[in-house]
């Protein structure tokens, strides 16, 4: 069970995600999608219950070991997750902060090594914005910035990628391209992919497995095609007990 500010946000969630699986978390705002993602990468520790990631119980890890684990989990946020006034190059290089010592990470920023530079450029080419290498990040569009966030995750070389509403701030025609790219990369790199999303169509199109959350509980868990229109209405129906005051976003 997970509490935020005294209100339970997640209750009795029992989920198992296998390596390489692609899962969409679906549900209305305040259903607990963001919280669940934060529980998976150990930013939030549940008051009761257990979380195991890559065969380790997060509860048994100290701060250092948790950071170690996080450095192997990519995280793409809805927006504002990049340092706006740094160059694209430096934001991507920051992907390995968790694996570098303080001094070497500072050197990476001030004077990126030739090898890293080439690798970052290759990655940016892969996500389609190779020419933006030296641009200031805030000069890019929302969709391009999400590609930078993906590039940062690629440079990080994680085993798993979590994404919290990655296309909510991207213009609708571009969100399909972005999700396409994200799932392609997941397949190439063998990432486990867990993505929270509120657009049902996109979830159905890109994710073999959909987990519907409602009031902090798992309402549906199964293949996307098993989700009936009636279940969807139910999932999004307003409920007088859904007072999840503790959470800022879904």
């Amino acid at each position: 069970m997970v509490h935020l500010g005294g209100t339970p946000v997640l209750r009795g969630v029992n989920l198992e995600v296998s390596c390489g699986e692609r899962v969409a978390l679906l549900g209305p705002s305040g259903a607990g999608k963001t919280t669940l993602l934060r529980v998976i990468n150990g930013v939030i520790v549940p008051r009761s219950g257990s979380v195991e990631v890559q065969d380790t119980n997060l509860r048994k890890l100290d701060q250092g070991a948790l950071r170690q684990l996080r450095s192997r989990i990519g995280f793409v946020h809805q927006d504002h997750s990049l340092v706006a006034n740094l160059r694209v190059l430096h934001n991507v290089v920051a992907g390995r902060l968790g694996q570098r010592s303080f001094w070497s990470s500072l050197r990476d920023i001030v004077r990126t090594s030739k090898a890293d530079l080439l690798e970052v450029h290759r990655i940016l080419e892969r996500v389609g914005i190779g020419d933006k290498l030296y641009q200031r990040t805030d000069s890019l569009s929302g969709g391009q910035q999400q590609r930078v966030a993906l590039a940062r995750a690629l440079f990080q070389q994680p085993k798993m990628l979590l994404a919290d509403e990655p296309v909510a701030s991207v213009d609708p025609t571009r969100s399909r391209d972005l999700l396409n790219l994200m799932t392609e990369l997941a397949a190439e790199e063998g990432w486990t992919l867990v993505v929270s999303i509120h657009d049902l169509e996109l979830a159905r199109e890109f994710f073999p497995r959909v987990v519907g959350l409602r009031n902090g509980e798992v309402y549906f868990d199964g293949p996307a095609e098993d989700l009936t229109p009636q279940m969807v209405t139910e999932l999004y129906s307003m409920d007088s007990t859904s007072s999840t005051g503790g959470e800022q976003d879904g």
Partner: protein
């Protein structure tokens, strides 16, 4: 049927109280000092002086206003102005360099964002630093100059230290606030990738505050030029020394040359900082 309006907040009374308080404070200060508007009009001799002083403003001196009794091998007046400006600038730059180091180090320690994701016990240290920088700010550089003059004599170090101490305190306070007000989302994202607190702060947070920090530092450099000029009144060889001497000799045209020189320096700094700010923002 229309619903009744919700109750309006009773804010105005509080706002009125504050404004009345400010007004009363002003009135008390005026009467306490026995100020009257009549005093602001100069009397006969004073009036003459004002007239002379301001009429000199349109004809600043380019040579000594009165060369009688001056040694024949004395350097030209404009050289003297240049020398005074140069010394003023070197004092200001030396003081600001020290203040930037002091202000940055203390400012980091005084900011809340620097100690995020660290043991809560560090809060005590942070508050100690905040008290220290408050103490540094509370004594004006002119008072400190008096103290250092007495202990060190008229050495450049005395003036530079006198400026650097309160300036470090002010920079530290403002830097720490700028750091704490900078956007935090990117820093959070870095901690999600396993970055350590110092990396999170220096790479995720600090760069966002840097343009503001740079702009404010330029403004303080301008202030340092003024402070360093005034140090001349105590005998340090900045432009203030020459300015005071010319003023006491009633050489108002020379006074205006010094004043214009100072204005030019401030304007140059302004143009330079505006240029840098554009580069930071673009």
């Amino acid at each position: 049927m229309a619903k009744p309006l919700p109750l309006a907040p009773r804010l105005p009374t509080r706002r009125v109280r504050i404004l009345t308080g400010i007004f009363l404070a002003a009135v008390i200060a005026f009467f306490g000092l026995g100020l009257s508007l009549g005093e602001l009009i100069p009397r006969d001799s004073g009036f003459q002086l004002v007239l002379e002083f301001f009429s000199a403003s349109v004809q600043p001196a380019f040579t000594y206003q009165n060369s009688e009794g001056l040694p024949s091998d004395i350097s030209p007046f404009l050289f003297k102005v240049g020398r005074g400006l140069w010394t003023t600038l070197t004092y200001a730059v030396a003081a600001m360099s020290l203040s930037l180091i002091g202000g940055m180090v203390l400012g980091l320690f005084a900011s809340a964002s620097f100690w995020e994701r660290r043991h809560p016990a560090w809060a005590t240290f942070r508050w100690t630093v905040r008290v220290l920088i408050a103490a540094m700010r509370s004594v004006h550089e002119l008072l400190l100059a008096l103290v250092f003059l007495a202990t060190l004599g008229i050495t450049p170090g005395a003036a530079v230290l006198a400026i650097a101490i309160p300036y470090s305190g002010t920079l530290a306070k403002v830097f720490s606030e700028m750091l704490d007000e900078s956007p935090r989302e990117a820093a959070d994202a870095l901690s999600y990738l396993g970055a350590k607190p110092l990396q999170v702060f220096l790479i995720g947070r600090f760069p966002r505050a840097l343009p503001d920090i740079a702009a404010y530092s330029f403004y303080r450099l301008e202030c340092a030029v003024r402070s360093s000029a005034v140090m001349g009144f105590f005998g340090f060889t900045t432009i203030g020394l020459y300015l005071r001497q010319s003023f006491e000799n009633l050489h108002y045209r020379e006074v205006w040359t010094y004043l214009y020189a100072l204005i030019v320096v401030v304007l140059i700094l302004e143009v330079w900082s505006a240029h840098l700010r554009r580069r930071f923002v673009a």
